[in-house]
């Protein structure tokens, strides 16, 4: 027997659960403003999530997927991107979408059942939320291929969950990205649960990062509750991809503190004790602790931030609630570039019905 290949998987963390630095922070984190921006984005995300859940509970929003406890993953990821990169989120990355300029009103419209929620005023090339798990990984490869063909220094960034790593689509996309050396970064939000299925029943692989090995692309794991680690590792992967060095897979290890969605009741399948224990590791208090201890964050600033986030979210909610639905005929208006004549009769029927 001859050994012909060998691989290792590394784990990166900068802040431990108590907010203590475990090693020297990366360059970007030397900048107070940069860290505070990450902190603010996470707090805004949590404020937004809480409001969205309460809108759902009071019948003013459809099913909603909170990112409670996982804010560092989308926020750290989006923070590592440039404006001209393209973000392909799944359904739990509102934190990253907001940071990239998707309006909170749009996100509410989407979950409130209105297609205009995916017509982002902001990042026009970003993909809408992807519900069928993992099916956007091939899109990300396609977007990256477009960049590569045009010789653009842009990167496609695709986020999906631990459950998604069991989908053939995700594997096929990573494999293709590897063989074509595409500028795409895949980020796994490993929150340890796919609805009721724990990570351990999803795969026998010791890490999800090693899924990259099958595709011939580098895989690494980070502490997904440490936004500095996420921002750092995803940033390295993005800049590596931008430099033409190909794709990578980053596994961000975090925990879903909420139910799967508002339609779920996690107490049916998950121990409360497990959840309580995990609260000790969540990303916001961890970074706050670090900021406070490095004496760069005051109580006054915290209070201002909380008030500010609440106000921003309230404004978005009001705008959302005040948006009248589209007319029923809207279902025909962007079906094709030009409505085929064969459909004119159906459209007329809807128009008539909605007028009567």
């Amino acid at each position: 027997m001859t050994q012909i290949a060998s691989f290792t998987i590394e784990h990166t963390r900068f802040l431990d659960p108590k907010g203590q630095a475990t090693q020297a922070l990366p360059a970007f984190a030397q900048n107070r403003e940069a860290l505070i921006d990450l902190y603010k984005a996470m707090v805004l995300t949590r404020t937004f999530d809480a409001k969205a859940v309460s809108l759902q509970r009071t019948g003013r929003l459809g099913t909603y997927a909170s990112s409670l406890g996982q804010e560092a993953v989308p926020v750290g990821t989006a923070a590592a991107m440039r404006a001209e990169d393209v973000f392909l989120p799944s359904f739990r990355e509102q934190g990253g979408q907001i940071l990239r300029g998707v309006r909170m009103t749009e996100i509410l419209l989407y979950w409130g059942g209105d297609e205009r929620g995916s017509d982002f005023a902001g990042p026009r090339e970003d993909f809408p939320i992807c519900i069928p798990v993992g099916t956007h990984a091939p899109h990300a490869a396609g977007v990256a291929r477009a960049f590569q063909l045009r010789g653009e220094a842009r990167v496609a960034v695709c986020v999906f969950g631990d459950g998604a790593t069991s989908r053939g689509d995700v594997y096929e996309a990573m494999n293709f990205a590897g063989v074509q050396n595409l500028p795409v970064v895949f980020v796994v939000n490993n929150n340890l649960w796919a609805i009721s299925v724990p990570r351990s029943r999803q795969t026998a692989a010791e890490t999800l990062a090693q899924k990259g090995i099958a595709a011939g692309i580098p895989g690494m794991q980070v502490d997904g509750n440490d936004v500095i680690a996420v921002r750092h590792a995803v940033g390295l992967a993005i800049e590596r991809a931008r430099a033409g060095k190909g794709p990578a897979l980053v596994e961000a290890l975090t925990y879903r503190l909420s139910d799967h969605t508002t339609a779920d009741d996690a107490s049916r399948y998950r121990d409360d004790a497990e959840v309580s224990a995990r609260w000790k590791e969540e990303p916001i208090s961890r970074l706050r602790q670090y900021l406070i201890e490095s004496e760069t964050w005051t109580k006054a600033e915290e209070e201002t931030l909380i008030a500010d986030c609440a106000a921003q979210v309230e404004a978005a909610v009001s705008e959302y609630l005040a948006t009248p639905p589209l007319p029923p005929t809207a279902m025909f208006d962007h079906l094709y570039a030009v409505l085929p004549t064969a459909l004119a009769e159906q459209r007329a029927e809807v128009e008539e019905a909605s007028e009567s």
Binding site: I131, S166, G168, D169, A194, I195, S196, Q202, M331, F332
Partner: protein, 326 residues
């Protein structure tokens, strides 16, 4: 006798089939301790164990293929897809393998699997959760496509589907999962496959439908009855193979037919029924056969979904036009 909703009746049928026959197995996402996103399999893992009620990884293409392997080995796997919107990766296995295995091996290997999925709109569900694409399955050779429209039929038809030696795609109208309760004897008696059910007798016209649309169609028939028009209401139930004989014999008597389905009009199963009537060229047809259906558009998100779905009113409007036909 137990009072049960449609989704509870599904659970009763699964339990009954598993009790009777230990080759019956369940597979799917979250069907174990969670009991399924609609709770159809609630408590079954406690009763039958994790061997027979298996939470699978999130691999939709895999499940159907797994079931082909299990089926060839003599098991009767029942696979749950969480929503019809996530079943499409399985079409390859259903079409290229499940529907062909018996034929291509001349009966040596068979595929007694059931694929269950909730479908249809009207519950304000997220994107991709509300479509009705039964026609995609009804065109595939070698399989059956069955849709129940009441708790009792869900119970009886699901038992029949599980016991059937060939693959069955069993689609559950989730809008009426909990719409009403019905007494279920839970006696293990299956309902017949390959047959329509006449839900209401009538001599003046035939309304043909299936799934959740049975509700609006029956309601329309009640209103027509109040106006002195007796509409026969047929629940197709098995969409493939289609019991055209039953539909023909009704329309031969009534002379008028309206077909109602939630799926997009073009190429829906209603087309096959209308074509079946057209092919037979009923001499006593008093009016052209009409279809009331979803539009040939993407199912809108919840704010407009009711504008997409056939309503009692649309059914009535069409029925009246058909009745008015000289």
């Amino acid at each position: 006798m137990t009072e049960a909703t449609l989704v509870e009746a599904v659970g009763l049928a699964l339990a009954c089939a598993m009790e009777d026959d230990e080759t019956v197995l369940l597979l799917g996402e979250d069907i174990g301790v969670d009991g399924g996103v609609f709770r159809a399999t609630a408590d079954l893992i406690a009763r039958f164990g994790a061997g027979r009620v298996m939470d699978t990884p999130l691999s939709e293409s895999l499940f159907a293929g797994l079931a082909v392997g299990l089926g060839a080995q003599g098991f009767r796997p029942v696979v749950e897809y969480q929503f019809m919107g996530f079943i499409y990766p399985a079409i390859d296995q259903i079409l290229n393998h499940a529907g062909r295995l018996r034929n291509r091996t001349r009966g040596r290997l068979t595929c007694p699997l059931v694929i269950r999925a909730p479908f249809g709109g009207g519950i304000h569900a997220p994107e991709h959760h509300s479509e009705s694409m039964e026609a995609l399955f009804a065109h595939i050779p070698g399989i059956r496509v069955v849709i129940p429209s009441s708790p009792a039929r869900a119970y009886g038809l699901l038992l029949a589907a599980i016991r059937d030696p060939d693959p069955v795609v069993f689609l559950e109208p989730k809008r009426i999962y909990r719409a009403l309760k019905e007494d279920i004897a839970d006696d293990g008696i299956a309902a017949p496959l390959d047959q329509c059910f006449t839900l209401r007798a009538g001599r003046d016209m035939t309304l043909v439908t299936w799934g959740a649309m049975v509700v609006e169609t029956l309601a329309a028939a009640e209103i027509l009855a109040a106006e002195g028009v007796e509409a026969e209401v047929i629940d197709v139930a098995t969409l493939k193979p289609l019991d055209m004989a039953a539909i023909l014999s009704s329309v031969e008597r009534t002379g008028r037919c309206v077909i109602v389905h939630e799926a997009p009009l073009s190429g829906g199963v209603g087309a096959e029924i209308a074509a079946g009537l057209a092919n037979r060229g009923l001499v006593n047809l008093l009016a052209p056969v009409q279809r009331v259906a979803g539009y040939d558009t993407v199912m809108p998100l919840p704010r407009l979904e009711t504008d997409y779905m056939p309503t009692e009113e649309r059914i009535l409007r069409t029925a009246r036009r058909v009745l008015a036909y000289a």
